[in-house]
Symmetry: C2
Subunit: 761 residues, 2 copies
């Protein structure tokens, strides 16, 4: 405790020594809300449990056994292209490629009560409203929009666990605030398992909702408070009639009846409003109980001062954003701080103010530290968690502890794969939590028992019945017959195994180290030297025919073709260069990747990205290629890395709603941006080395949690000067394009000398 006190004190001192800038204006939450970014524009605080944001559609999904692209579009609830808003719900993923959430949709309306959302083409057919981007403001921690059909201005802000709405009504004796308990993201007919609501008094409502969504067994509890007593309220149950309910007919359950339960419920609360009268609504969430939701509300937002709540939310953002102060062109600052914003809104805190949370075992637990959820690990192990190890080590420590708690609560005894809200949805491939854990231990972030971490990694990576692991252990690769993504799985397992080896090495566990270092070589087993590509292999050892190195579907890979995935040996680029025929051939091959013309038919089967998310055949919009541009460093052509990085930074990130070339993926795309724009990148998390690229910023000042400052500065920086002629660390030239994590932690200065011409040496 003493140590923490000192750290906080040091931070206090430091925040005095560096004047805090107002960086909130550089955050444009609308970036990524158009096309494929899948970000949301609403209000949240850093790593906030509540993400209060407008939903422009809540399509119902009738299961027909196949992929439904329309629903996929609404991963974040909001599409910039849309013309209507259905309402404001309290939970949203940022940048995912599959979805869930959208809990407790609230909508203010006026006039005749409507309890159906209506359609986008005819908003007046329901409670939704047309809106215009001209009347929309989206800031970090604040959102505002005019709801044209109801002549109501809606404003949103949030605390950690409470969403605060302010609705400014016209004069009306038919003003309503709706609570749609059927609405949700990626909705389908049976998704809402149960809803329970109790109207405690004329300003307080509590309840919960259980859903069977991407998270299979998920319950969110709430406490809802109004700044003004409603004059009446009611509900409609859209479910079919139920057995047993005879004796409930003693009540008029539709009007002013305070004990509501069922599967398909929409509620309304009625008010008289004068012209310009604002009614505020607080919605507090809890993973545990209504009582906890109410306690969260009382602890975090005991007042009705919207401006104060907004100011505090934005101050919280400013504190986070100031951890890196950059000097760069204005649009680059917008990109950079919006990237930081998107990187710092997930994982989310999953714990009440009393530190209770619901575990993977569906029982209530007391957290040690802060419990987090929403781990999109296939994405985020690459750069987001490494970024946290650098700029948020305290939180990353708690995230690792949360993943260990997940493991301990798992009847499968497995670390999370893609987990949210006390569930694993098992999305994507690999067991990349081991990368996050190893990286955190190796970089000194994790304060818990590292041996327990190693044990969890070993158990997870030996779960034979999961996704071909048994075959992988027995054969050194997964036969194509056993698994549809046998090659990418084998490659990813091999990398993860290398991480476990690094962790074992750190812990002096030679036996484990040797075992896993051997497993880390398994990438070689899916290398077909006759064609020079990674390729699916059959159980008899032969390679699968036919095979297409450009295609993704059915070729043994996930979200990538062999052209991209053949570069996926981040743990040993040197060996990969050798395998691919040496440095020259390797560099030429990279050139081809970045310059090829990928036919449209292959683009069509590449999920989650726009056409602009591709440079040649390099697919930045999906993650497997994120390290590739740095591989030139291993081919003796760092200048190529430098120009490619600058190219990607410019082409794939724009300060516009359609500015992201692919899903932000819970901050992974954003973390890539921040690292790369500062000139370095963690090619292989689990290693403490960063690979150098070409900084986009003029300079960046990193205020670390240990109290040190690390400064990145450039000489001769410009849009044309994308090449690095030399790099000094604290005045001493670096001989390799590498930077060690420990050197950053010590504090110091990294100086990039920029040039318009490559330095080929």
């Amino acid at each position: 405790m003493k140590t923490i006190g000192v750290t906080l004190l040091l931070q206090g001192v430091l925040s005095l020594s560096f004047a805090q800038q107002n960086l909130v204006p550089y955050v444009h939450p609308l970036i990524g809300t158009e096309k494929m970014g899948h970000t949301y524009p609403g209000a949240t605080v850093p790593f906030g449990s509540v993400q209060l944001s407008p939903d422009t559609d809540t399509l119902s999904y009738e299961f027909n056994g196949k992929y439904n692209g329309d629903v996929y579009r609404y991963c974040a609830g909001y599409k910039y292209e849309d013309k209507t808003i259905v309402g404001f719900s309290h939970t949203h993923f940022s940048g995912t490629g599959h979805s869930d959430l959208g809990d407790f949709l609230i909508m203010p309306t006026q006039g005749t009560l409507q309890l159906n959302p209506g359609t986008a083409s005819d908003p007046k057919s329901g409670y939704r409203s047309a809106f215009s981007h001209a009347n929309e403001v989206a800031e970090a921690g604040y959102y505002k929009v005019k709801l044209d059909d109801h002549n109501i201005t809606a404003e949103l802000t949030a605390t950690q666990r409470v969403g605060l709405h302010r609705y400014t009504f016209p004069k009306s004796d038919q003003s309503h605030i709706l609570l749609d308990l059927m609405a949700g993201i990626y909705n389908y007919d049976d998704k809402v398992v149960w809803t329970y609501v109790r109207v405690v008094n004329d300003t307080l409502v509590t309840g919960y909702r259980q859903t069977n969504g991407w998270a299979r067994t998920r319950t969110v509890y709430f406490a809802l408070s109004f700044s003004k007593p409603f004059k009446s309220y009611g509900q409609k149950n859209f479910d079919k009639p139920q057995v047993y309910r005879g004796f409930w007919r003693k009540f008029d359950q539709a009007h002013n009846f305070p004990e509501i339960a069922g599967k398909k419920i929409r509620m309304y609360f009625d008010f008289d409003t004068s012209e310009g009268e604002a009614i505020e609504v607080k919605m507090a969430l809890s993973p545990v109980s209504q009582e906890n939701a109410l306690a969260n509300m009382r602890a975090e937002l005991p007042h009705w001062n919207f401006e104060q709540a907004k100011t505090r939310a934005q101050a919280a953002w400013n504190t986070e954003l100031n951890k890196i102060q950059i000097d760069a062109a204005e649009p680059d600052k917008v990109n950079f701080y919006t990237a930081m914003y998107h990187a710092f809104i997930n994982p989310t805190v999953y714990m009440d103010v009393n530190e209770q949370y619901k575990g993977l075992d569906q029982d209530v637990h007391q957290a040690k530290g802060t419990n987090y959820t929403t781990f999109s690990l296939w994405d985020t192990y690459r750069a987001l968690h490494p970024f946290f190890n650098l700029m948020q080590p305290g939180r990353n420590n708690d995230m690792v502890a949360s993943m260990m708690a997940h493991y301990n609560q798992s009847p499968l005894k497995m670390l999370p794969v893609w987990s949210h809200y006390a569930n694993d949805n098992w999305c994507m491939s690999g067991y990349h939590s081991v990368s996050v854990l190893a990286d955190a231990v190796i970089k000194g972030t994790y304060t818990g028992d590292p041996q327990a971490v190693l044990d969890a990694c070993i158990a997870t990576s030996n779960h034979r019945s999961y996704e071909g692991i048994g075959e992988y252990i027995d054969r050194g690769y997964i036969p194509a017959t056993a698994n549809g993504t046998s090659v990418s799985n084998t490659l990813e397992y091999a990398y993860d195994d290398w991480c476990i080896a690094q962790l074992a090495k750190k812990l002096n566990r030679a036996d484990v180290y040797n075992t896993y270092l051997k497993r880390a070589e398994n990438w070689r087993n899916v290398w077909d030297n006759s064609i020079g590509f990674m390729r699916p292999r059959l159980a008899d050892g032969t390679f699968k025919k036919p095979f297409d190195v450009y295609a993704t579907d059915g070729q043994g890979f996930i979200e990538g073709n062999s052209w991209n995935f053949s570069f996926f040996v981040p743990q040993n680029p040197t060996a990969l260069v050798e395998t691919m025929g040496g440095a020259k051939k390797f560099a030429a091959r990279l050139d081809t990747l970045f310059s090829m013309h990928l036919p449209d038919k292959f683009f069509a089967e590449t999920e989650d990205i726009t056409r602009e998310g591709i440079i040649g055949g390099y697919i930045h919009g999906n993650e497997p290629a994120h390290h590739i541009a740095y591989l030139y460093n291993w081919a003796g052509q760092p200048w190529r890395t430098q120009e490619r990085i600058r190219q990607i930074l410019r082409m794939q990130y724009k300060p516009t709603p359609d500015g992201l070339g692919g899903n932000d993926d819970c901050g992974q795309m954003s973390a890539w941006y921040m690292f790369s724009s500062m000139g370095f990148y963690p090619v292989a998390p689990g290693s403490a080395e960063y690979s150098l690229g070409s900084p986009l910023v003029k300079n960046a000042k990193l205020t670390l949690e240990n109290g040190k400052t690390f400064t990145i500065e450039t000489v001769n920086q410009s849009d044309k000067n994308v090449y690095v002629s030399k790099v000094l660390l604290n005045g001493m030239p670096l001989s390799q394009p590498m930077l060690n994590h420990a050197d950053i932690l010590k504090g110091g200065t990294l100086t990039f000398y920029m040039s318009a011409k490559p330095t080929k040496k």
Copy 2:
């Protein structure tokens, strides 16, 4: 705390002074399992949270908007008439006329795995088994049966919160224990809202199930333990395919997969068994969490000693049964102690060993004292709770506290009507919890704040929107147009209001007393003097036409016709006698009731009773008439009361499976039996006076919780000597056929002098 210690000490001393008899053999749990009794034959401890009992059918109920008699038959899960057993489930109501529960059905089988229950007519079509009553043993706390189709002997016993099964298998490498998580009592397609199961290891499974049944929002958590590790296990999900489950295909979820969730799940556990090998199974329940269920198991049943558990369960019963030691004919002792058994199995403890329970508000609460559930108050206010005030005041105090907790957690601010498992199902009429509360305060049982009790009674009785209360308050009666059971409601409210008046009087609240004493007179407003019957009245004050005093349906009454309900003024029989034309006419009218021939067509619409449940037109099988035989005491003809009571005791209670003439109704029928067979009855709970009848026992020794003993003895008792010639209390003759509760509490002796001829004086 000191007082309790002293009381316990006194009890200890007393239990030394009266040698405990072995009364368990007099308990025949099969009584009432045939025809209309709706009791269950399985194993439970006094007021046990677990009621582990065989189910002979688990019919699925497809909602078609009308009453389904077939499902109604299975209120207790077991029908003596049936030839097959589906399995053994852990929760059962005793004697109800509507139902729910039947949680966690377990069935041992052998041979080819079957995951459907099959049909009664072809038991081999599923996992169910034929059985014979010849191979069946049902005792207090113990049940045994041979499952013929599987050649398995099943034995059951229980602790407070744990069911213990012992299955003796033949030699087989295909022995199974099934856990059917779809099964339930009064089941229908959507009843199971959600099921979650985790297989912790090869002997331990935990989980929970939420149902939308008679209790709308009800979750039961469990921990299941096997005495022998299973060799394999699996599950089948009978629900339709679900959206979102793509990534779960990474696992074989059907076999040996430990993390199970869904709506329609049946599980199986496989064993190799040698000839005669016994496998034991513990199932612990909790209203709060899996963790609590496991803690309950570890606290109550840490061993695998079935005999010890059985011995303890039966010892617990013996302790309770010995509270009244009677001398009577053997069949009468069977009736008496089985009645006591049925009276002491509900309400049930609803609280974990750590004293947590789920409240009506669906949040978790810490109990003060013992929290109880299952309050069938329309039935049990009459004699069961008064019986508890006499023989179980400590528990009744906790029951009243549980009802007050319900009130405090209720968003409606209403006391329970018919509550179970954190829900009110609102079954039947009146607000009779006020009778239970008033009786407990007036008789000195309740140790909590009596003013808060009065406040709760006032709030409940003024809930205008409930069942005509608003009209009742405004007009003094409920118009027939407002409510289908307007007359019985008016009569019952009037009685309940009198209880509130008595409570107010006790608390010196003159204002409340006057208000409610006036409301207690409202029975007069549905009395039609022109026909001499209670009768539905319209809003304009006129009486409804047509009207049939024999019919029940559509006449303004619930479970009774005007002939029976016209006697429902328990709070003021004297005034009723007057109203009905004086003592002579009144007595003649009672004679007519008991001797009339009720045409079959009226019987057909009288629910819940057998033809034998009627004496003339007196319907003992339903509760509204339970006080009627005692009313002769107010008509100057106590000898008529005496002969009728003895007649009812003989005709309506027989020591056979079909021995109960109607639903036992959570012990109300049984409490009537015990009171009446000891010679007194609480005609108007809320009064401390009992009305005297004619004892059936030779004598009865009541060991009270205050350490006193009250003895009832008879002189010249015989089957023919049903008339009482005089009664002495501690040697002094009683001038009225009344006994005061306080006189019992002081301890003493009540002596009935019996005769074959009435003493008409």
